[in-house]
Symmetry: C2
Subunit: 289 residues, 2 copies
């Protein structure tokens, strides 16, 4: 191991936090490994209450100079982006001088799909001299392992739905679109795009309420997989207790994610919720498509 | 032309009618060609008011014997299925003796996706001695032609969105799933599955209301295309004035459909609505994917 790497793994980690419970869970995992974490919650995404009791620095989208200055003075060289981040509208961005100097790059990142935006942001952060890491690199315990996580396991009929879902996600992977699909009885009920996984599951719940779904309650699977060519440091699919709740409301029987590249920051809470609801959660091989 | 064909083209046409304005519009087109039409509205889909003033025979889903008897005694040998038909729940079906005799086929038709259901129904009707025709075969004027239908025409940026949408639909075509997608600024905003085109457009309207769509109002395209290998006699995509209204509510700029295999039963009303709203409607070559 080179000295540089050793130093940077020991140095504090800058954690840029979007919304949801994932950021603080990751912060706790990293801290438990003995590494100091400097939190940068992003306004409009992160919730103020969550950060009240921890040292943190708020960022508006676009405050590149502020981030660079504060992270550097805290001794950080590694940066992790974690949590959901609704693509901000242009008027919500408050570019500081550093961001303005990099404006062509920022603007380029803003065109195209979400992949493009995130990849663009990653490049900009690296231009500022930081090293972008994935949350799973600094806290590997958040990755879903292979096999059943729950008491209930997927039966053959359900595994056939999982296989169909993975095939569908592979076919749409080149389009920089959602990473999830709902399949029941070998029938694609919903495909995710801009609405996100929660929005898609809410739709399935509505369709079921309206009698539009033939498969009986308790059947059907939420399948999630990363897009092909996706930068794993930025946008791995994630599941949590809220996903379980939404899957139950949608009347599905379980969740399948690709093992080793799906994040769950609170595995104990996830499994507890799934077992209580009687649904299965399974990590499947990413190559089993 | 053989005698058989001549006879069957002259004989009355049995029109099995689902919901929406399409069935009666098709009936009028066929009648205008001098061919008698016998209407079979399906309970749970067709609206009673629409049929009050025309001779008709109501059908429950599953009344194969009743349909065969009535259609045959009216001298029909050709059958067209037209209009939306929500996949009925098993308890909504009232199989008569003929349907019960064909039960294994009916059951087989009920497994799998919608394509499977429709193809199964087609085979059953043909087993009963009828010839299944497409609505566009008995009334070719309902097919959308190639080129712009509206005053507003799609510009280059919009045509790029159309091309991306057609590519996406081609990629998902093997999955017996929806036939429509919404693309804005080369970004897939929504993909249709069990919710149908109207449901998908309502979602885009909601996303826009919630500030989740970056593309400004008036940009973005609804793209529709038939699935590969789809039986054209049964399930061609269709658009109408309601589609225009939903596209406007979703804040999109236009509609693109594949020419020669998309139905619009009321082209004058469609174009009038689109011109009034300032959106474009264009028929694109099906091979331009």
């Amino acid at each position: 191991m080179s000295v540089t790497t050793a130093v940077s793994e020991d140095a504090p980690l800058a954690l840029v936090c979007g919304g949801g419970s994932l950021p603080l869970a990751v912060a706790d995992h990293v801290a438990a490994r003995g590494r100091r974490v400097v939190l940068f919650p992003v306004r409009g995404a992160a919730a103020a209450d969550d950060f009240a009791k921890r040292p943190h620095h708020w960022l508006y989208p676009g405050q590149l100079g502020r981030f660079s200055r504060l992270a550097r003075s805290a001794g950080c060289s590694d940066v992790v982006f974690i949590g959901w981040l609704v693509r901000p509208a242009l008027w919500q961005i408050r570019p500081d001088l550093t961001a303005l100097m990099l404006l062509p790059r920022v603007a380029a990142a803003f065109r195209g799909g979400d992949d493009h935006l995130l990849t663009g942001m990653a490049r900009i952060v690296e231009d500022c001299g930081f090293r972008l890491r994935g949350a799973h690199e600094v806290a590997p315990e958040i990755l879903v392992p292979i096999g059943a996580l729950t008491r209930r396991v997927a039966v053959e009929r359900e595994l056939a739905d999982v296989a169909l879902g993975l095939e569908y996600l592979q076919a749409t992977s080149p389009f920089d679109v959602g990473q999830a699909v709902v399949v029941a009885d070998r029938h694609v009920l919903a495909a995710e795009a801009a609405e996100g996984t929660d929005g898609m599951l809410a739709r399935v719940a509505e369709l079921r309420k309206g009698g539009r779904i033939r498969a009986p309650r308790g059947t059907g699977v939420l399948v999630k997989a990363p897009k092909r060519g996706q930068d794993r440091r930025l946008d791995l699919p994630s599941i949590g207790p809220q996903t379980v709740e939404n899957v139950v409301n949608a009347g599905l029987g379980g969740i399948a994610v690709t093992a080793g590249n799906t994040i769950t920051a609170e595995p104990a809470r996830l499994v507890q919720a799934a077992d209580a609801a009687g649904i299965f959660v399974v990590g499947v091989p990413a190559a089993a498509t």
